[in-house]
């Protein structure tokens, strides 16, 4: 009986423990609270502001489609190679089956995998863009990311177009083990081909860009750029913290830190992205 009474205070619904990586997702709701300065504004207002906090300038993560909308002229673009999806070549099982994870991610996000490749115009310049989807298994790079990346480069080569990649990834996809590791080589080989054809490659490193992505295409741009405050690194901050047994200095592995250490060409605020990329494309083209 006593137990039944305490039912008043116990949680009946399960699943309230949100995973850390989900916490930064933008929730559908009326209000938005900035995770950095804690300011609360209307979600609608935050959206109009490109999901950048109007008080502290914090750039919240947004899905690829928002970048397409922001960057492409008249929000017009065409997706290519949409149909390619992940197999489970190794029959990988941890606490869950990889095939089940894939299915769940596809259902949750409506995406086929962690990369979307599109063609469109930015400021009148036709380009090919590959944008990573962090919401799909942490934007992890497996065979699909590698293949779609490769085909996007092929498209560039065929039509002599510049290539822009929006990285947003935790790194290689563990469930594809060595196959995912080899995507570092595969994407780099394709960039080598692009480079030989003297076609420009702009790497935009978004929050977060870590692991195998950083150790391959994200750091190989003719120009490497980023948004303010984006996390960019090889090892993830938690791994480094555990390794050295100390807290990390403030701003460590931020876009500003990378700029200072010479690994980025410049940082652009989201509102200026289109103008800056257009300017850059014009200079490559002229």
């Amino acid at each position: 009986m006593a137990e039944e009474n305490t039912g008043w205070f116990s949680r009946i619904e399960k699943g309230i423990n949100t995973e850390t990586k989900n916490k930064k997702d933008i929730k559908e709701g009326i209000w938005y609270k900035c995770p950095k300065c804690k300011k609360i504004i209307l979600t609608q207002e935050h959206d109009i502001n490109l999901n950048v906090c109007n008080k502290c300038g914090y750039h919240a993560r947004v899905p690829a489609v928002k970048y397409f909308k922001l960057l492409f002229d008249n929000n017009k673009y065409k997706e290519i190679n949409h149909h390619i999806s992940s197999a489970d070549p190794l029959g990988f099982v941890d606490r869950k089956k990889y095939s089940a994870r894939l299915w769940a991610s596809e259902k949750k996000t409506g995406l086929k995998d962690a990369i979307t490749t599109v063609i469109g115009n930015i400021g009148g310049h036709k380009i090919v863009m590959a944008a990573m989807n962090f919401e799909f298994i942490g934007g992890s790079m497996g065979a699909v990311v590698g293949e779609k990346f490769a085909r996007a480069v092929d498209y560039c080569l065929k039509y002599k177009l510049p290539y822009i990649v929006l990285s947003k990834s935790g790194g290689a996809r563990m469930m594809e083990a060595a196959i995912s590791l080899m995507q570092l080589a595969k994407t780099s080989a394709k960039l080598n081909q692009l480079s030989k054809a003297k076609l420009p490659y702009i790497s935009l490193c978004l929050d977060p860009t870590t692991g195998g992505t950083t150790a391959s295409f994200a750091m190989l741009g003719d120009i490497n750029i980023s948004e303010p405050g984006a996390l960019i690194g090889f090892a993830g901050p938690r791994v480094i913290k555990d390794t050295i047994g100390k807290n990390l200095p403030e701003g460590f592995q931020s876009a500003e830190f990378l700029l200072e250490h010479g690994f980025l060409d410049y940082i652009v605020e989201r509102k200026d992205l289109k103008q800056k990329i257009t300017q850059q494309l014009r200079m490559f083209a002229n």
Binding site: S85, M182, N192, A215, S216, F217, H261
Partner: protein, 317 residues
């Protein structure tokens, strides 16, 4: 003799062997027959155990403290005709990455590899074979040098991963590895890569883009170590055995999914049981591969190298 946990039955036989020898020495009895029999049993036991190693056991063999490391291979293969070169010309000399020109039966080759230490002091000195950005940049400098003088490149992979820490990040670990991978696709000379121990992730691949990639029988190659994989996916280090299974990281697995070109047999019981034999086999294999690769034009070789890696990946369409 250091035995791994699954080698315990061998240990027991060796104890018997020791005792038999002792009795022989003390009593003057002729123990020759007994000794021979036990010796035969040791070999049989070893065969039995080693013909049936689990992925995790292979990982253990790849990390055997007596297993030979890069410099020992280089010295044996070149018969001591090797000049080690140092420094990345930018920051410093990374002791976890070694390299230099050496000769194989008179022919000059550029050798590069991660280097582990043989005792506690040296392990620290070598940073456990975990290279920093300057290590990868040193490797690239040496590779370019080889290209300039038209010498083939041989890389030895043996690392638990690239160095992880504040300085590695400050100096661009990601960029250094990415640059190497990218540049290796453009090198006009033959590249032979041999995994002699641990092939962990980008840290290994950073010197591992080869025309021919060979794996010794008891080595592993993966995107992550079984321990780290266990920590991330199972939230505890205890599932490393299962993680090793799941990652399909053995030479056999890697050959089956066509990510490597060949498996090199090790002497029975692993490379450390008979290093001299191991060097001999490795040397012969490297010579064969270089000879074959030299018959291809640089342009064709680069094209084939790229094609090989571009074809890696299994997906649905």
């Amino acid at each position: 003799m250091i035995l791994l946990d699954f080698e315990e039955p061998i240990g027991k036989l060796q104890e018997q062997l020791e005792k038999a020898r002792q009795i022989g020495a003390e009593t003057g009895l002729n123990m020759d027959r007994t000794i021979k029999e036990i010796e035969k049993k040791v070999i049989e036991k070893r065969k039995e155990i080693y013909s049936n190693l689990s992925p995790w056991q292979r990982v253990q063999v790849s990390r055997h403290p007596k297993r030979p490391y890069t410099l020992r291979y280089i010295n044996a293969i070149t018969d001591g005709d090797f000049i080690e070169m140092h420094g990345d010309r930018n920051f410093k000399d990374d002791k976890a990455m070694v390299g230099g020109f050496g000769t194989i039966d008179g022919e000059t080759v550029m050798f590069i590899g991660q280097q582990k230490g043989i005792n506690t002091k040296m392990r620290q000195y070598r940073n456990f074979g975990m290279a920093n950005p300057e290590g990868y940049r040193k490797a690239l400098r040496l590779m370019k040098l080889a290209e300039k003088f038209n010498k083939p490149i041989v890389t030895f992979l043996d690392t638990p991963g690239a160095a992880c820490g504040l300085e590695a990040e400050e100096r661009g670990q990601g960029e250094a590895i990415a640059r190497n991978i990218y540049e290796m696709f453009g090198l006009r000379v033959p590249i032979v890569t041999v995994i002699i121990g641990e092939g962990a992730s980008g840290g290994a691949l950073g010197i591992g883009v080869g025309d021919r990639v060979l794996m010794l029988e008891n080595t592993w190659y993966s995107v992550i170590s079984p321990e780290s994989c266990s920590t991330i996916l199972w939230r505890s280090r205890e599932h490393k055995v299962r993680a090793a299974d799941a990652l399909k990281l053995t030479a056999e697995n890697m050959y089956d999914i066509q990510l490597i070109d060949k498996i090199i047999k090790e002497p029975l019981g692993g490379a450390h049981i008979n290093p001299t034999e191991m060097y001999k086999i490795t040397k012969a294999e490297i010579k064969t591969q270089i000879k074959k690769l030299k018959q291809i034009s640089p342009e064709k070789r680069i094209e084939q190298r790229m094609k090989k890696y571009i074809n890696m990946g299994i997906y649905n369409e």
